[in-house]
């Protein structure tokens, strides 16, 4: 069974922006997929749909065979960890509390309001921090960490959910090249060791080619490429990054020359 299935999904926002114009695909369990595409192509929208943060205008989505609808929204979100470009940690909470946010889905109303967590939740958070190598920073405030460390806390938070799927929306866009490399390796390692399906939006073609099992190219809300990194040649890239009404794009050609 596919880990994520996307069936004819369209998304039109209230302001009239047509972000996705009919996307259908299946993501295999335990695979590492990278989505490439220019800004505004609908990459983020697609990830947000898979976590139920947006609802499709048409079409449907399912995670591990369970369709995403209003009734099981929280259950689906619990199985889908999310990693963000700007990390989105709660600045004033400690690192370990930020990771424990990933366990909130299992906690009672009163317990979570009082910031009480079970021993086993604490163990899960501890292990997640160990995986990202930040156990020694556990009790520091999240905003005291560097960007790369904050992103690793973000990944630990997703891991603490013990998810089936991790969605990462441009996880390295705010990081330097070396840190980016580390974060991508970490995501790759999580995918391989825990058999978690990982879906990453990226702007870096080289990282995509090196880390992905499969690359999906989105342009103006449509899938324009779907294949292995080896299949992503210059003509395919030109298709992915082509700008509307600009068939003979000089900038695009000079960028692709270095890709």
């Amino acid at each position: 069974m596919a880990s994520i299935s996307i069936n004819g999904v369209e998304k039109r926002f209230d302001n009239g922006f047509h972000a996705l114009k009919g996307v259908s695909t299946e993501i295999a369990p335990g695979s590492f997929t990278v989505i490439l595409g220019p800004s505004g192509a609908g990459k983020s929208t697609l990830l947000r749909l898979i976590n139920g943060l947006e609802t499709p205008t048409r079409g449907s989505l399912a995670v591990a065979g369970k369709p995403i609808d209003h009734a099981n929204l929280r259950a689906i979100r619990g199985e889908v960890g999310m990693v963000f470009q700007h990390f989105n940690l709660v600045d004033r909470l400690s690192v370990v509390t930020n990771v424990l946010v990933g366990r909130l889905k299992t906690r009672s109303w009163l317990g979570s309001i009082l910031y009480l967590f079970k021993r086993e939740d604490m163990d899960i958070a501890h292990e997640a921090l160990d995986r990202v190598g930040l156990v020694d920073k556990s009790w520091q405030r999240a905003d005291r960490l560097s960007g790369g460390q904050q992103q690793r806390v973000g990944i630990a938070r997703a891991l603490a959910q013990q998810p089936r799927v991790i969605l990462a929306d441009e996880p390295v866009a705010s990081l330097d090249p070396v840190t980016s490399e580390e974060i991508m390796q970490l995501l790759r390692e999580i995918c391989a060791r825990d058999r978690i399906t990982v879906l990453v939006n990226l702007h870096q073609i080289d990282l995509a080619k090196r880390f992905a099992d499969r690359i999906i190219g989105l342009n103006a809300g449509k899938v324009v490429f779907d294949g292995t990194p080896a299949q992503l040649d210059r003509t395919a890239l030109a298709r992915v990054y082509q700008r509307e009404g600009n068939q003979d794009d000089e900038q695009l050609q000079s960028v692709l020359a270095y890709a």
């Binding site: 943060l53 929280r74 999310m82 963000f84 909130l104 906690r107 973000g154």
Partner: protein, 262 residues
């Protein structure tokens, strides 16, 4: 590139500020004229005021311990009032923040409740509560609590609306419930601001509590009310001095504390 080859600057947008400014000046002048405010009457009034204030020249501090205990009661009224306000505000603010509210009905209802509480002047509330509950500090506590709950709730809600939407989304994306989002993404992000607002409201409530006594809601204001009615200028002067000194001290204290928070 020569100047003529440049893309011409788009036309400058119209700046309405001078028009508004002159309109406001005209309106203000009309108001002053209509109310017949004149500097001449003010100048005559100064002489009368000087004579009246002269009657307070000899404050009588013989009953100082009593005055201080009344002042303590006033401060207690203010603190309890602030606590009541805080409870109401913490309960209502998450519903009145657009980004955290569970539904638009909850948003509208809580906003209107806060607006209503804020719109009821605390002096009026105190009069109502004194009439229904009798003299004493309790009506003062309720009046201050309800009125300032409206302020605190609005301040909190607006701070909550300013928190990073990504943080809210991250907590929501983990499968957290509404109350968990409020507790983990909401309050921790605005804790410092919220403490600052609470201190400010407490400061304001201490000032207001001294006046609330005038309508019978306990504390030092009640004593001042009595001495003024009996034309006991010496005792009134002492009471006013106690109020001023304590209020100033409290003001410095809360300013210092708020400075520490920054």
């Amino acid at each position: 590139m020569t100047a003529s080859a440049r893309t011409p600057l788009p036309p400058k947008p119209f700046n309405p500020t001078p028009v508004w400014l002159s309109a406001w000046i005209v309106v203000l002048w009309l108001i002053v004229r209509d109310l017949d405010l004149s500097f001449a009457t003010l100048a005559y009034g100064v002489e009368d005021m000087a004579e009246y204030f002269g009657r307070y020249h000899a404050p009588d501090f013989s009953d100082l311990p009593h005055y201080l205990s009344l002042m303590a009661q006033t401060i207690a009224t203010a603190l309890w009032g602030t606590l009541v306000a805080l409870l109401f505000a913490v309960a209502l603010a998450p519903f009145a923040a657009r980004n955290l509210t569970p539904s638009s009905t909850a948003y509208r209802t809580s906003r209107e409740m806060l607006n209503f509480m804020r719109a009821m002047p605390d002096l009026l509330l105190a009069l109502i509560f004194v009439a229904s509950l009798g003299l004493g500090p309790l009506p003062g506590v309720l009046a201050l609590g309800i009125h300032t709950a409206g302020f605190l709730g609005k301040f909190f809600a607006e701070s909550l609306e300013r928190i990073d939407s990504g943080v809210v989304e991250a907590v929501r994306a983990s499968g957290a419930s509404h109350s968990q989002i409020v507790m983990y993404a909401g309050w921790p992000s605005i804790l410092r601001e919220a403490l600052g607002y609470t201190l400010y409201v407490m400061d304001r409530n201490v000032r207001m509590a001294s006046v609330l006594g005038l309508v019978g809601a306990g504390g030092i204001g009640l004593a001042l009310h009595d001495t003024l009615r009996l034309f006991k200028y010496d005792e009134s002067a002492a009471l006013i001095a106690v109020i001023l000194v304590v209020l100033l001290a409290f003001d410095y204290f809360s300013t210092w504390l708020r400075g520490k928070l920054k």
